[in-house]
Symmetry: C2
DNA sequence: AAGTTTATTGACTCGTCAATCAACAAAAAA
DNA sequence: TTTTTTGTTGATTGACGAGTCAATAAACTT
C-alpha cells in the first residue's frame, strides 16, 4: 500500500542499515540483501533508490561524517575561549560515539574505500580540511604563525591516537587519547612561542 | 615435473602475490585464483599450501611487518646517538617503500582485518609495541620519566601522519611527515624538561 | 620393484550475490 | 476515468568464487 514520499525515509533507513552492517561485519563485505533486510525492505527496492552498492557506501560515509560534524559543531557552539574550542574538538573526536563498533567499522573501511573510489577520497579530504580549519580558528589567537603547523600536527595526532585506541586489544580509552592530545598542545603552546630558529 | 622442496618457494611466491593483488585492487577483495595466477600456479595449489585465503592474508601481513622491521633495524644499526635512533625510526617509517601502493594497501586493509580476525589484531599489536619499544630506547636517555608518554605520542603521530599522507590527494610527501615528527620531538624534548605540574 | 611422499592441476560442488525485470498496487494528475 | 507517477517485490539472470577431489607424475625410500 504505497504511501508517497517514501524516498527520503527509505534512503535514510538504508544508510543507517548500511552503517550497522559494516559495523557488524567489520568490513565492506556486506550484501545488499543484508542491508535491505535490516532496513526492512527488499533488495530490489534498495537498488531502486540507490543505483548501486557503492552509492550506498558513499551515502553512508556522508552520513557518518555529518554526524561527527554535528557533534563538533555542537561542542564548539558553547566554547568561549580559543582554548575551549580546541578542547571541544578533541573531546568530540574521542567521544564514545566514535568508538562504537559502527563508527569504527565505518572509518576504517572508508579509508580503504578511499584508495580506489575517488569520490570516497574526496570525502575523506573534506573531513581532514574541516578538522584542520576548525582547529585553526582556536589556534591562531594562541599560536599565531605557528598555528598552521600545529593544526596539521594535532589533526594527524588525533587520527593516529584514534587508530591506536581502536586497534588496541581491549576497550578503547578515549580519555587517555584526549590527554595525549592535550599534552601535545601544552608542549607546542606553553613552551616555545619564542623559538624562531629552524 | 615435481621437484622437491617447492613448499617454501611456492609459499613465498604466494605471499608476494597476495600483497601485490591487495595493492592492485586496494582491497581484500581479491580472489585466490588471481593470487595464484600472479604467483604462477593453480588456485588448487594455493589452497594446498595455505589452507584458506585468510591464512594467506595473515602470512602476507607478517611479511609486510617483517620488511618494515628489517628496514628499521637496518637504520638503527648505524645510529650512534639516541637522537640518531629516533631519527632513524622516523625516516624509515616514512620511507618511499612504505608509500608504495602495495604497502599502503596492505596496512589499511590489515587494520580492517584486525577488527574481525583476532590473529590480525595481535599482529598489529606486535607492530605497535615494537615501534614504541624502539622509540623508548632512544627516548629514555633524552627524556627520562617522560619517555613513556612521548613514545606513545610519537608512535601515534607517526601512524596519523602516515594515514594523512596516504589519504591526501596527490603524491604522499614522506619528508613533510618526517619534519612534523621532528617538530613534535623538538617541542617535547627541547622545551619543558622542568615542567612537573599537571 | 614396490610403496610412499611431494607436487600439481582440471573439473567440480555448492554457494553467493549484484543487478535487472516484469508485474502489481495505489496515489496523483489530466 | 484514464494516464502517469511512485512504491514495491518475487523471480531470474549471469557471473563469480572458495574449497574439495580424483587423478597424474616425479622423486625418494625400502
Amino acid at each position: 500500500m504505497p504511501k508517497l514520499g517514501m524516498e527520503p525515509i527509505r534512503k535514510d533507513a538504508l544508510v543507517k542499515a548500511t552503517i550497522s552492517e559494516i559495523g557488524r561485519t567489520g568490513s565492506l563485505d556486506v550484501t545488499v540483501s543484508q542491508i535491505a533486510k535490516r532496513a526492512g525492505m527488499s533488495s530490489a527496492l534498495a537498488h531502486h533508490y540507490f543505483g548501486s552498492k557503492e552509492d550506498m557506501f558513499l551515502a553512508a560515509m556522508r552520513h557518518v561524517m555529518t554526524i561527527y560534524g554535528a557533534e563538533v559543531r555542537g561542542a564548539l557552539s558553547v566554547a568561549q575561549t580559543p582554548m575551549d574550542r580546541i578542547e571541544a574538538i578533541v573531546v568530540a573526536s574521542f567521544s564514545p560515539a566514535n568508538f562504537r563498533r559502527e563508527a569504527v567499522g565505518a572509518w576504517l573501511n572508508f579509508w580503504v574505500l578511499a584508495q580506489t573510489v575517488p569520490q570516497a577520497k574526496r570525502l575523506v579530504a573534506v573531513y581532514q580540511r574541516r578538522l584542520k580549519s576548525n582547529l585553526l580558528v582556536g589556534l591562531r589567537p594562541l599560536a599565531g604563525a605557528r598555528a598552521e603547523t600545529i593544526a596539521e600536527g594535532l589533526g594527524a595526532l588525533i587520527d593516529g591516537l584514534y587508530l591506536r585506541q581502536v586497534l588496541r586489544p581491549g576497550a578503547p580509552d578515549g580519555a587517555a587519547a584526549a590527554a595525549m592530545a592535550r599534552d601535545y598542545l601544552a608542549a607546542h603552546l606553553g613552551a616555545e612561542p619564542l623559538q624562531t630558529m629552524k
